[in-house]
């Protein structure tokens, strides 16, 4: 526990981002008006992108801002504006008992995962340097990295960058990637079919 607080004190960027993300998430689940929820979601998404950068996942951070904040959140706001919900159309809130039960369940869930994480020794170790992990082979993982093969100079700063993730997607994970594209096409067709306005028959 003491080591965790020392770790947090040494990392103010993470503390700020985590607080903003938690506050944003709490805004999402507590506000009655969905517009405030969407704004809270935006705060959480942006701070998540910063945390991704801290974890050396620079490509994912950029994609996260583009996809979540740029596409998903805008879609949410667009639908909220399109529906233009009035007070009675927002519906009733759940009762106090249901909220209490859900809250207790959520706290129990969080406590369970936290307990499991605390009792796992490997999670208490500090993160390894990327350079070290590259040079020393680990188990059956060979020492040559994907990005070192693509770039003979082997700049280690590219870990988690576009080239590194791109090489992984388009070589080893190419088939799952194509399956995802099929999923997205099906989703587009489904969304169009569902939201298509039925026009009255012509004269």
């Amino acid at each position: 526990m003491k080591a965790l607080f020392e770790d947090l004190a040494a990392d103010p960027v993470f503390c700020v981002c985590a607080l903003v993300a938690l506050a944003g998430a709490l805004t999402v689940v507590t506000r009655r008006n969905p517009v405030y929820s969407a704004l809270g979601l935006m705060a959480a998404f942006v701070s998540f992108a910063v945390i991704f950068v801290k974890l050396s996942a620079t490509f994912l951070a950029a994609i996260h801002v583009l996809v979540y904040t740029g596409a998903i959140l805008v879609l949410f706001l667009f639908v909220i504006m399109l529906l233009n919900l009035q007070e009675k159309e927002l519906g009733r809130e759940a009762g106090r008992g249901a909220k209490l039960a859900a809250g207790l369940l959520a706290i129990a869930l969080c406590g369970l995962i936290g307990w499991a994480a605390f009792s796992e020794k490997a999670l208490h170790e500090p993160m390894p340097g990327i350079l070290d992990a590259r040079l020393e082979p680990k188990g059956d993982v060979p020492a040559i990295s994907v990005s070192a093969k693509a770039d003979p100079a082997g700049d280690t700063a590219d870990w988690g960058g576009v080239r590194h993730v791109g090489m992984a997607i388009f070589t080893k994970w190419a088939f799952p990637f194509e399956l995802v594209s099929a999923l997205v096409v099906v989703a587009i067709l489904g969304a169009v079919m569902l939201a298509k306005k039925k026009l009255p028959p012509g004269p």
Partner: protein, 99 residues
């Protein structure tokens, strides 16, 4: 490492609370997004912890993002279709099979 997992657990729990305790369909969908993001943080943190040759964690997060985008597209289309016929986004008003 531990702090990322704890943040991930907290985000997932908040999202689970929202999905369970709220009745507004839009907010339930947003809560599911919060849950998916909590899982993403854990995936990226584990990928960084085992900073090995490959980044399957990052690839997995990209898949999660694509699935989330598809899910939101379908979900919002469903909400629009429902709202046209029922004039409500309250889940308790949507219990009968036929309107």
């Amino acid at each position: 490492m531990l702090k990322y997992i704890l943040l991930s657990a907290a985000m997932f729990a908040i999202g689970a609370y929202g999905a369970l305790a709220r009745r507004n369909l839009l907010i339930i969908l947003m809560s599911i997004e919060v849950m998916l993001n909590g899982a993403n943080i854990a995936l990226v943190a584990f990928a960084r912890q085992h900073a090995a040759v490959e980044v399957p964690g990052h690839v997995f997060v990209l898949m999660v993002m694509a699935v989330a985008a598809a899910e939101v597209g379908i979900g919002l289309a469903l909400i629009i279709a429902l709202f046209r016929t029922r004039r409500t986004v309250d889940t308790t008003d949507l219990t009968e099979p036929q309107g």
